[in-house]
Assembly symmetry: C2
């Protein structure tokens, strides 16, 4: 998986144009960080007035498959990155013929496919829950006989936030289960052994063009209905595990020859092992606390990495808990603004839908030296 | 000076549109803070592609005297504020007929005119250097005989960053001096007795619609060629003086019935008195360190105040020194990015001119509890 070593590249000077595939809140927060460093942003998104385009100087609103629009976009920017990983790889490759896209499309390809992703983790010696590739109902039955029940059937591609996955319990109807996921991801699934984990943690690693790298303190995450609900730092896990989480993230970033950010989500088993769950080559919801508690936040770090700048200090000056504002949670905005320890972040989304990520709030408390990794 | 008491006003909800008069870096940083809270910004500026418009969703590029453009702008926003105080008061009044402008145009009027400003300070019991209103060369000679030499002759209006001021030394040619300043500000000047001050400090006070107020820790400022060079916090002055500076800022904000921010610059005399120098009803260059060292920065505080939100905590988690990047200073951007304690802020200005504010850098060090006020 190690890509070709790139020749040393001059840092992109402020005033250069950063292209961002995707118009959501991650793109918005990359754009805000880029603006602070004097860069100009150009969003490529499928929806006008999206969160990122609202704060960027330029926007191309077009289909991600529109080759003319992609070429024009490429001609207008100096470097490009993805704020979500389900951009068609072909589109990214097309743009990469004209300008650097960081991380590389090969990283995107791995992250888009659970089979490739899990194979990658295992190949570099990182443990995952036992898993099987599944390509049909018969195949599924055999995988279940090997991994047992309960287990989780997931689409290999285009799944996120719990979409395209189903739990296989004792009474599961395999035909229904297979039907549920096979429509989403092109007929390939992954069956994962059920992990009765103690905690979920994640780490975000940044890596520069020169191979320099840096990690934020791992966070402890809570999900509800497969959607991240909150992330707290420091994670309440032993120091050896936070160190192991950072090491795993770093090894993955190295093996991918990553330039940019890599977020890796992991399970902590009850017997103290780390099992890799999934990864995303971009800023990550579980790292939003860095905006308020770190010298350099994950979005600035992303900009630094993709522009060939020195990475910033990820040092943390406070303990933090980040809570997502999902759907109607956002009606509490005024109460949150009245809490002196809270920092509110809203994403400019006009329509509130159940479960939609409308914003987040970070609550800071003085740093607890003893428990930090 | 106390304005009419306003009726309680409901907070402006996120998604509302904040109009900003002026397109410079202060407007840019207000817009970035507003975006984080989910507000939409609309810049009214005379130059396209200005720093603020680059990061705002909407922009009106027109003359500040264009009444049609002003009315259309007013119809498109929910509240407006000024990012610099030399917007024509008439234009602000026009917009204020349609929507709230905060701070009020009456505050702007005082801040635009050194005669009104100094009269205001003195009226509420705040000391200034001795001063005289000057309306011609003969008048100037009498004022000099009263205040002595050296003294400083300043235009009453439209002066900033040392423009429109001249020092009157023993060998000064009064005709030349008067000619130098009288063209800038409409033929009225102010002669100020020379203050051989020990330090310059400033304080930024926020005040809400409900009269709640909050102040950032006062900073100690260094000027070069009349332009702010650096600001450090905590100021190296006795605690009683930082308390007095906050009190002075608060009294001024109260007396103006201010809604928004008020920055007051002061001299510390060698015998330990505070002399008011000037004030600006907006975020201030000497408060840029709050972006990196405070829970709530001055730009967010400005947004909170003008939108009728609760003010945020101005608590400071680090000591800080903010240094302006003037003109070619900005070529050091890459070195600054390599300093782990430095936070770089660039303003998106395409043309570097001598002395032009291109950006700033804040250097943080762990908080020194002992010397903070």
């Amino acid at each position: 998986m190690t890509g070709d070593k790139k020749a040393p590249i001059r840092p992109l000077a402020p005033g250069s144009v950063i292209g961002i595939f995707g118009g959501g809140q991650l793109g918005r927060m990359i754009a805000l960080a880029a603006a602070r460093l004097g860069y100009v942003c150009h969003i490529f998104a499928s929806e006008a007035d999206c969160p990122a385009a609202q704060v960027a100087t330029h926007a191309t609103i077009a289909s991600y498959e529109d080759r003319d629009a992609l070429r024009t976009f490429a001609a207008a920017v100096d470097v490009a990155t993805c704020e979500f990983e389900n951009i068609p790889v072909e589109s990214v490759r097309l743009v990469a013929e004209q300008i650097p896209v960081r991380p590389d499309w090969k990283v995107l390809e791995v992250a888009q496919d659970r089979v490739q992703e899990k194979t990658f983790f295992n190949t570099i010696g990182l443990e995952t829950a036992p898993w099987r590739r599944v390509v049909g109902q018969g195949n599924l039955a055999r995988a279940i006989s090997e991994l047992g029940r309960p287990s989780i059937l997931k689409t290999a591609r285009f799944g996120y936030d719990g979409k395209g996955q189903v739990r296989i319990d004792d009474d599961a109807h395999l035909g229904h289960a297979w039907h549920h996921i096979s429509g989403t991801g092109g007929g390939v699934g992954v069956l994962e052994a059920f992990v009765d984990f103690a905690q979920e943690v994640s780490v975000i690693v940044a890596r520069g063009i020169d191979g320099a790298w840096s990690a934020f303190d791992p966070t402890e995450n809570t999900h509800a209905n497969h959607v991240l609900q909150s992330a707290r730092v420091p994670a309440r896990v032993p120091v050896f595990l936070t160190a192991a989480a950072v090491d795993a993230g770093h090894r993955a970033a190295e093996a991918l020859d990553l330039v940019g950010l890599l977020a890796v989500e992991m399970f902590v088993t009850r017997d103290g092992r780390l099992l890799m769950n999934e990864m995303a080559p971009r800023p990550h919801n579980s790292g939003h606390w860095t905006l308020d508690a770190c010298l350099t936040d994950q979005f600035e770090q992303c900009v630094r990495a993709i522009c060939g700048l020195p990475l910033g200090s990820p040092e943390r000056h406070a303990d933090a808990t980040m809570t997502n504002l999902l759907g109607d949670d956002v009606v509490r905005w005024l109460d949150i603004l009245g809490d002196p320890s809270a920092r509110l972040h809203l994403y400019g989304k006009k329509e509130t839908r159940p479960g939609r990520k409308m914003g987040h709030v970070t609550r800071l408390v003085p740093r607890s030296v003893a428990t930090s990794p």
